[in-house]
């Protein structure tokens, strides 16, 4: 099963390397990892999507908690949370295809952020399923480049 782990980490040099190193050394399987500053510039939030059974997840949580720069670890998979992923996607869009591509994008509320002679770049945020659905629909047109931030998540109040 996949779990969403949310961790608060002190912004110390090496902190991220320590966490990534821990995952590789222990053979944990990271699907996605996103890091960014929180409201407190000395603290970052790490959102990690990790797969494995309950025993592995228990180790992941405990090993993360043991890292001295880590302030808090939560497995939020079972709670109610908001998750988002941000994607930039450049798709090939010859003149004739543009209207239908933009029509699909509108349904997804993807934003056009760049328009070239042969390509369009979209920005899309949302939960993972939405992003994946959009990617699948763009595929037939020819995806040129794609970048995703990885998922971030915060508990609802």
């Amino acid at each position: 099963m996949r779990h969403i782990i949310s961790a608060l980490v002190e912004n110390k040099p090496g902190a991220l390397a320590r966490i990534v190193g821990l995952f590789s050394a222990r053979g944990f399987n990271i699907e996605s990892l996103a890091v960014g500053e929180t409201e407190n510039s000395e603290v970052s939030r790490l959102t990690i999507i990790v797969g494995g059974d309950e025993a592995i997840l228990e180790q992941v949580r405990k090993q993360l908690g043991k890292v001295i720069d880590v302030l808090k670890v939560q497995d939020i998979s079972d709670d109610s949370f908001v998750e988002r992923d941000l994607m930039l996607l450049k798709v090939s869009a010859k003149a004739g295809k543009r209207p239908e591509i933009i029509e699909i994008a509108n349904v997804f509320r993807a934003k056009v952020v760049d328009l070239g002679e042969k390509t369009i770049m979209f920005e899309l945020t949302g939960p993972e399923e939405k992003i994946n659905a959009f990617i699948n629909l763009m595929r037939p047109y020819g995806i040129k480049e794609l970048a995703r931030t990885g998922r971030i998540a915060v508990l609802r109040s």
Binding site: L22, Q59, K62, D69
Partner: protein
């Protein structure tokens, strides 16, 4: 205050009496000022790895934080094996490594190595001092992290310009460390549940590891065993945590443990692990380890719990605090059947060896007889000799046994013995070595002599990398690839003499006792080269990955 002086002040604050250090360009300012600190002894090893193991051996017998210092680049990389050794065995150390100037970091400057990067997976924590004003907090944090919770080595990577910077910030009384809160107090509910389960158990076993030594609670282990009437087996790291002369002792368990310890663990209905981590040399085949047991696990490190073995009742906390709460709840029970079963096993499968000639086990037995009434510390290298020392020396007190358990580092014993001798000048410190291992840090004989640390080394010289040869004999058709040493070994007596120390050779069984006596009576460091039966094996033995009750050579 100048950086180097601040470091010295921090060492004083942490009550450091001795540092093991080796100079180099990045350390000149620090060593310049350390020269004036007459209250901090400086020991110069002949290799940084040796210095690291000395700090480790010092820590193992004293319980204090060992301090090693090495210069940037090759000095620091030479420390790596010593750091990893301490990390695997949870030994408190602070290692200071010199580093190139902060402005040169990342430039591939002369003698630059990314030491925080290299040591990240083998330290409890590490620091690169990039701003001089961070140094006070880092110094205090490093010692605190090293010695608290589950102890371990901490590296401080120290650019040379930091050591000459003028630092305004003062040493804090306590570190800040908002993300570090080792748990000492156990959950009382868990302790109660554990007590209930132990009281109900018909065939309990206590399985005791190095955590009990770190937590200094071997007296409580004895109380618990006696009050609850529970047999006790220890790991290699736990030797001395429970007197092996006690009727409840099962001696060591695991790959080369006693058959009766392994049988007891296989048949127990309640396995009580205390400060031990269920590593593969203990469990053998996991699926058949203690198959009928409920497992209770006392440990200060939550990541040790349910890592290799599913635990029914975890009790996270300091073993001392947990056992103090637990013992009053235990009920006395005769457990007659269990003990008579154990006695039967003890009778049937004693630790023993056969054959005439000069057997290495005999040397250890005689050594024990000659030293049991003296304050003695036994250190070892790694190999067969280490296992024979563990099996045939009788340990009754904690911190008298110094051996690289988790990493199994050949070359550990001699420098660790030197560190141990520095910590305990009134003890007889004996390193039990193999002819292979002793050559790995043999240069430290100079350090022993130069610092008047009269460690004795018994070389159980079998002319082989014996432990590997044993596996080749048993599992690889006796193909002794790269393990014979006899033809090329140096003359260890002459080697000792060349170092200015004493060398003694024993080649016959009847000369063993006299040789040992002479070694003990000789002042200064000694090599006792005992030429033992070359192809003796360590038994009993659980083949790797087998269930622990399926042992070769049970009698």
């Amino acid at each position: 205050m100048k950086g180097s002086k601040l470091i010295i002040e921090a060492l004083r604050k942490e009550k450091v009496k001795v540092v093991f250090g080796y100079p180099g360009g990045s350390l000149i300012p620090l060593f310049h000022d350390l020269q004036d600190a007459k209250d901090i002894k400086f020991i110069l090893p002949r290799h940084e790895q040796g210095g690291g193991h000395m700090a480790d051996g010092y820590a193992r017998v004293s319980g204090e934080v060992g301090v090693a210092i090495a210069t940037s680049g090759p000095g620091a990389t030479n420390l790596i094996t010593a750091i990893a050794t301490a990390h695997m065995d949870s030994i408190p150390m602070v290692c200071i490594t010199g580093q190139v100037k902060t402005t040169l970091i990342g430039n591939d400057a002369l003698q630059e190595a990314d030491i925080t990067g290299i040591t990240r997976p083998i330290t409890k924590h590490n620091f690169l001092v990039s701003d001089p004003e961070d140094l006070p907090e880092i110094m205090v944090s490093a010692f605190h992290i090293a010695r608290s919770g589950r102890p371990g080595p901490v590296v401080i990577d120290l650019p040379v310009d930091i050591t000459i910077a003028d630092i305004k910030t003062k040493l804090p009384a306590k570190p800040t460390l908002p993300g570090y809160h080792p748990r000492y107090d156990p959950n009382p509910k868990q302790v109660e549940r554990a007590a209930e389960m132990i009281n109900k158990a018909k065939q309990p076993v206590m399985y005791v590891g190095g955590g009990v030594i770190s937590s200094e609670c071997s007296d409580l282990i004895k109380k618990m065993s006696e009050k609850g009437n529970i047999p006790v087996t220890t790991t290699l790291m736990g030797l001395g945590a429970f007197p092996e002369t006690h009727k409840n002792s099962l001696l060591m368990l695991g790959m080369h443990g006693t058959a009766y310890a392994n049988l007891a663990v296989t048949n127990t209905d309640c396995l009580i692990a205390i400060g031990a981590r269920f590593d593969d040399r203990i469990t053998g085949k996991i699926s058949e380890f203690a198959p009928n047991a409920k497992v209770i696990h006392f440990d200060i490190d939550p990541t040790s719990v349910s890592k290799n073995i599913r635990v029914d009742i975890p009790v996270v906390g300091d073993a001392t605090k947990s056992l103090k709460k637990l013992i009053p709840l235990l009920k006395k029970s005769a457990r007659k059947e269990w003990f008579s079963q154990i006695d039967e096993w003890k009778e049937k499968y004693p630790l023993a060896y056969k054959g005439s000639g000069l057997r290495p086990q005999y040397v250890i037995e005689e050594l024990y007889k000659l030293t049991k009434n003296k304050k003695t510390i036994i250190c070892t290298e790694v190999g067969q000799h280490q296992m024979w020392a563990a099996q045939f020396y009788t340990f009754t007190k904690p911190r008298k046994w110094v051996s690289s358990g988790g990493l199994g580092t050949m070359g550990f014993g001699l420098p660790a013995a030197i560190g141990a001798q520095e910590a305990k000048p009134d003890h007889l410190v004996i390193n039990i070595a193999g002819d292979g291992s002793i050559q790995m840090n043999i240069q430290e004989l100079t350090t022993a002599l130069a610092n008047k640390l009269p460690v004795k080394t018994v070389i159980l010289n079998n002319g082989y990398l014996g432990m590997v040869r044993q596996w080749q004999e048993l599992f690889f058709d006796k193909r002794y690839a790269q393990t014979p040493l006899k033809e090329t070994n140096p003359d260890f007596v002459k080697v000792a003499e060349a170092f200015g120390c004493t060398g003694i050779r024993v080649t016959k069984k009847e000369d063993v006792v006299a040789g040992l006596k002479k070694m003990i009576a000789t002042e200064g460091p000694v090599f006792l080269d005992v030429q033992v039966e070359p192809e003796e094996n360590v038994f009993p033995m659980v083949p790797a990955g087998e269930a622990i009750d399926r042992m070769m050579g049970m009698t």
